[in-house]
Symmetry: C4
Subunit: 279 residues, 4 copies
């Protein structure tokens, strides 16, 4: 801090020191205020324990089903407040437990991380929850059979009825368009927003050279869709290998199936959850 | 109910109330009779416990072998009455137990569902049992390697001896021909009948964009055929990838193998069943 | 039996009955002798318990490794007598135990089946042991990745060093050449002999539309070769998918590797056996 | 030893025996010196127990992940001395324990093998540690999806962000260039040196018709790279099957990802290690 020459008219040494102290404290306070420009959001309160339990189960189910590896994550919108969502700390999905869940606002600021490391790509979740009030759960994965579609630009199309939602369209997010040459991680709100804009109102998108983002109206729904995307990609690859003309689902078939999309969901969820959660 | 003006010639107030009561009861009775237009079939009695046990085992074996997922189902014709069949309530096959088995007539009306939810596509089973007196067990599955054949129209052909029955022909059921654009489920007797007509006298058919239906003279037989269909589809896909001219089984080879089709069945069933049933 | 008219010169009624009895017994004895035209070979004595143990382990290892399914079998030449071999009764390989092992002569007659059902295709083993004094163990399997090679006639070639023995040549046995249109099983010595002639001095052959036969100088060796055949077939399929020119092992490389073929065998066998046998 | 005629001038019998004894001892000493031309290197002392533990875990993790079979091996540079490295005795990786670890110098001479059989191809490790001071851990594997790339010469390229290091280039080691027609094993320092020269400063190389060698700055890093190489090879194969133009990672993307390559490594290592090591 620049020290200005002051005349000694009536000012004592103590005056100078006092003045200096005040300036120092003011500077410190100002610095603190600047650090705290990152708001600490208030909690929406305890989430429904069943929602937390489903979120933990979802992590394990998706590892079981070959959709999630040691990376990737699952989140759910807070049941008490649409401006909060729940996402595990940075940890292999297979190891996630209820204690690992962190509450975030839609700018992906943590309510109380308590020193737990955060997923670098939480901005995917926050940005999509912001743009999509209908979405209640999100999966980010490196689902293997999807990646070749993302890098070739060959459109995923619905081969069988369990994956009808693919008929609504699965866009490809090319991160170069939003951020040029990057390290390929959606590591800030700007990239998160670009991804959400690419997603639009679709049920999922592919991230070129990275993986996928899947959304749904509930945790069981987004888990089912993630599994079905991987299956459909495998089947579509095999069908294209066989050659010949492929009959995909007709848009009218897609609409009719979407009208009853979750009719068998509870039946599948019951089994998947039972296999990964202790009694 | 419309109240008609009546003259008061000789009728008392009590008369009117009595008349009204009679009309109300008559209307209620008529409504009840209309609700009960869906018959409640009589039971054929207790099924052979070994048949029930084999049916439960079949569900688990087919999940183990990658043929059944959380959807799909297995049924058996009742041993006491060819006009009854046994099918689990709507439940992931991996979780099916003896208590889940419901008895149906061939119109797929339940004898006594006891509030248990029923498989939407039970009409597949009823219609095929009706059309095929020789069939004693049926599997409906989403066997993954079969689906690309159904959507490309490339005929499944017998690559190796364990799948010789494929040589009898595996038709493709295109639901659009029977029901136009639907949600792809065989959810009523009309669609079930159309499927049965497509099946004809064949050992299985593919449901385009959906899965397959496999039939057989016993539960072990239909389980073996379901497994072999999936294997043959994988091998045929790989052979087509290699290229070159493929030597499939000759019709005479098919006939000779079919004459001894089940010679090794007990050997396989012994192992499969042991691996899924508690001692 | 035709009753001839006989005169009554000096013959009594008792004479007739006696004569009849003698003829009946003679006929029965003759019938018995004809049934026993199938020799009952003598045993070579108790086989080395370690050999039996390795044979049981081989069955389980090959199921573990995806080479054997519920069918297929493994045999070993008897350590005491080259004219005897050991093969399990007809049973899923996963379930084979020491009590299931039956001793056979090289015409595949059992020493003492004790009513246990025999493998229909034991004639593969007997015929190959007859033709190949160097062979000490044989596997017959339906190894899945091999079958497409057998039906397309595309030659299996050694892609990597662990499968160098493929460089000696893997012929294809087309059963039509030996038996016309059959049920595809090597169910008698004639077909067994035809298979052995096709095998020649090679380490394995493919049975078109059926599977493979693999031979070796020991049980561990034939197990390793069976596993490596399956792996090589998968890799060759993938390499052909990638396209381009494939560099296979050179015949000189094959020779040099075959000179040290079993240098790492004990290391692999130690692990495979430990994983399937109780302590 | 040739016995020379000596005259008996003043020499006694004792003299002869003493002379004989001296000559014998001298010969023995000379023989010992020749045997000991293979130096016995001195130990660098006890390695960090955590390093040994990670090395044992790495073996098991890579088997779990389908990268290592019964052959192949993992090594680590000694934490106390860059001129020593640690490698298990010749044993299936799945069975390796801390007692199996042998310390070597960079010519791959063992400090104290104690009669334990040594990996024939340890010369891969020694030669690479010599040439690459930055390398702290090495994997030699027969990673299946890599082998078709090695034999077709189709370059491995980075399809997705977790395998960005592939963008630095993965050379192919063709052993014929260094050793002509061999048994394909890197069984001496000359071949090890040729392999290290082919590796240059790259993160891995493919051994044509054999497998791969992967290097890294730590045991967790080389494990992660080995797993990602196998995954990338599978995805690249599938993408090439789909056809069309493949968008690989841009060199700038590769550089940016490499700058943060290990940011998520601890997260993956935590899970992988937990699944294979007893508590």
């Amino acid at each position: 801090m620049e020290q200005k020459a002051v005349s000694n008219y009536g000012a004592t040494r103590r005056d100078f020191l006092a003045g200096w102290a005040v300036l120092t404290m003011a500077a410190a306070l100002g610095a603190t205020l600047q650090v705290a420009a990152q708001p600490q959001p208030t909690s929406a309160g305890l989430a429904d324990p069943k929602l937390i339990e489903d979120l933990v189960a979802a992590n394990r189910i998706l590892v079981n089903q070959g959709v999630l590896d040691t990376l990737g994550h699952v989140s759910a919108r807070h049941n008490r407040d649409p401006n909060r969502y729940l996402l595990a700390r940075s940890r292999a999905p297979e190891m996630v437990s209820a204690d690992d869940i962190i509450e975030y606002d839609l700018d992906s600021n943590p309510v109380d991380a308590r020193g737990r490391p955060m997923n670098l790509e939480r901005f995917i979740h926050g940005a999509v929850y912001k743009a999509r009030p209908d979405v209640k759960a999100i999966v980010h994965n490196h689902s293997p059979s999807l990646i070749p579609f993302g890098v070739t630009g060959i459109p995923l199309r619905p081969i069988y009825h369990s994956a009808a939602f693919i008929g609504e369209g699965i866009p490809v997010f090319e991160i170069r368009e939003a951020g040029g040459m990057t390290d390929m991680l959606v590591r800030d709100p700007a990239l998160g927003g670009a991804l959400a804009r690419t997603l639009g109102n679709k049920p999922a998108l592919l991230m070129r050279g990275h993986g996928a983002v899947v959304v749904g109206p509930s945790v069981p729904s987004v888990v089912r869709r993630s599994i079905q995307l991987e299956v459909n990609a495998k089947l579509q690859t095999q069908a294209m290998t066989l050659g010949g003309n492929i009959t995909y689902l007709d848009p009218e078939e897609v609409r009719k199936i979407m009208a009853r999309e979750d009719v068998a969901l509870e039946r599948s969820w019951e089994l998947w959850k039972r296999k990964v959660m202790p009694k």
